[in-house]
Symmetry: C2
Subunit: 379 residues, 2 copies
């Protein structure tokens, strides 16, 4: 199988990630529960992972690295825990349902004033639209770093400046950026960064988290055992325990920690560079195929993720993906990709789109097979 | 190390569980996202796990087996998703903070009328107290199957009868019962059973779930990508998607599935039988040690979990556990075990208790070392 669905989950994980999970499953007790060898091994693994992740994203407070089971949970935590009745909230047409559905729920139950920055037909968000919509009444801005459909990278620094000038908090959905490009949360001015472990970071499924800038107070989402303050009727106020009830997935976190090591050794900039080259190679080739229409903004490959979404003529995207899978052994993703507003902006609500997404482990030979397959399907 | 902290997390996992996780990490895409080989492999693993888990607990609807990252999440989902403003809710003194803290939060924010069945000095809940407190106004009863501190098993069938006679829904915290005794949710009359994967079930951390009886409508807890109904602004209404937003931990679920196979092959009744024998052996020996006080109801070993919590004289439980760990290499858990009300009932709020908890893989040789260590500490 040629796996070109890395924006959904990376299939090839570094061996060291798998080895770390195996080792953890053989040696780690319950993190932060007790003081014997096995629990301390787990606690150390988790703490080391917080430190590594903080360093990786240039975030200065490891104790504010909160672990979750995926980025959807991280986004639910911060959206439900920061936004209050009647707040003005700004988001965008390019968001995933992991942002949209929690926001719609708050609109319907807490009467929040929800406004969206519109995407154009290339899925581009105009910075001037953020300036128009964000105002002193804005409490929170939620925006993805990279679109999971077009691969467009949003200008987080500029959005952050606008949000902060208005006194708003900026939440960034980093599901597609963590591990695939250099993310410096301090330089970008991100207040809360949500990430998942199993995509660009090459970690196991069941891992993810959020980085919460010091001073940002997020209400607990889950409540339960914390291993400390048993007689406190509330969840402890201190991060990370405040947002981490119950037994942590220290087995998965061990894998994520090894994955961060792998990326740090290779260099996230080198990973991004290779992915840019793969993307440019694929894009240039498929743009030459009659009947192929590509979505997104490819004016600057250095500032684009390893995602190319396209359609062939007026063929249903599901049928094209099925043909790629059944006839060529190529794994892609079709349909709506959980981004309803963006498909409407792109004009692809009915057709969906076929998404090709690459990773550091993707080869040019694989791309050639995919390009050849698209040529045959289009002809 | 002699690991006697299995009620926190089982440390020895069957080899097949680790192998299943490794295989999953090498072959599984994102479950329920797309239709290519890798995603179908993940989807099949997840579906098979639902079927196996349903069968294991004699639950008849695999699609109502919902996966979570642990039992704390399962309990938060059902408690926050079933209980409404002003509801009368009955719980008990023996609950874990994973039940208590979500309930206290609803008491403080939704003005629920929360009443507790009291535990006596052995941690026993009187069935007649349930009869007194549960009434036609009761909406929900939440009770643990097995206490994580005393190992006492609650008579779920009788509690269920009382709850159902009053028209209430019964939620059972099965954190300590899943995998350690035969749990037949139909025979026991459980409406919602919450379990974790990493304790008695021998699965990986990061797994767990809830079984939701048909007809029980739980509000979504998290909202986000579901791989279906992209244009629906709400989380889909159908189980399990209704309660499962974002990428599932299909790597962990593969391990949990293998763990269920292991337990089914050995026979959960045989596992329970061995644990009963280990518990009786340990209990009988430590009861003979001057200065050791054991907590809980050991009148019927067949109806008791493999948990023995005790104190030595008036020694701080943390110091005893540290001595066991440092001087004898024995891993136990001390302190308050996230059960504040139960410690008050037992009179151990200040001292805490040292918990020894066994698994199918615990040996008599290990128990002998622990018994010898307790003798030395007590003398």
């Amino acid at each position: 199988m040629i796996y070109l669905d890395n924006a959904a989950t990376t299939l090839i994980k570094p061996d060291s990630v798998i080895e770390a999970v195996v080792s953890a499953m053989k040696t780690q007790g319950n993190a932060s529960r007790g003081a014997h060898g096995a629990t301390l091994t787990a606690s150390r693994t988790v703490y080391d992972a917080r430190v590594k992740i903080a360093k990786f994203f240039n975030f200065d407070k490891p104790s504010n690295v909160v672990f979750t089971c995926n980025s959807t949970e991280a986004l639910n935590i911060v959206i439900s825990g920061l936004i209050n009745d009647g707040d003005h909230v700004v988001s965008t047409d390019t968001e995933h349902n992991s942002v949209l559905r929690p926001l719609y729920h708050l609109r319907d139950t807490k009467n929040i004033d929800l406004q969206f920055v519109k995407a154009n037909e290339k899925g581009i968000l105009c910075i001037s639209d953020f300036e128009k919509i964000i105002s002193k009444k804005t409490k929170v801005v939620v925006v993805n770093h990279i679109s999971n459909l077009t691969g467009n990278v949003n200008d987080i620094k500029k959005i952050s400046d606008i949000a902060h000038d208005a006194g708003a908090v900026l939440i960034v959905d980093g599901s597609q950026s963590a591990g695939t490009m250099n993310v410096d949360v301090k330089a970008l001015g991100i207040d809360v960064y949500c990430f998942t472990g199993h995509k660009g970071l090459f970690g196991p499924q069941g891992t993810g988290g959020l980085l919460v800038r010091d001073g940002i107070e997020i209400e607990p989402f889950k409540r339960g055992g914390s291993g400390v303050q048993t007689y406190n009727e509330d969840q402890p106020k201190e991060y990370p325990t405040r947002l981490e009830a119950g037994t942590l997935n220290s087995h998965g976190i061990a894998g994520l920690s090894a994955a961060i090591d792998f990326i740090s050794e290779v260099g996230v900039i080198n990973i991004h560079k290779k992915e840019v080259e793969l993307t440019k190679y694929f894009y240039d080739a498929v743009m030459k195929i009659d009947g192929v229409k590509v979505y997104g903004d490819f004016s600057d490959f250095d500032n684009h993720a390893a995602i190319v979404s396209l359609n062939v003529k007026d063929y249903d995207s599901g049928e094209v993906a099925d043909a790629l899978s059944n006839d060529y052994g190529i794994a892609t993703r079709s349909g709506a990709h959980c981004v309803p507003r963006l498909h409407i902006a792109l004009g692809t609500k009915n057709q969906g789109a076929v998404r090709f997404s690459f990773s550091y482990f993707t080869t040019y030979e694989e791309l050639d097979v995919a390009i050849g397959a698209l040529k045959e399907i289009a002809s």
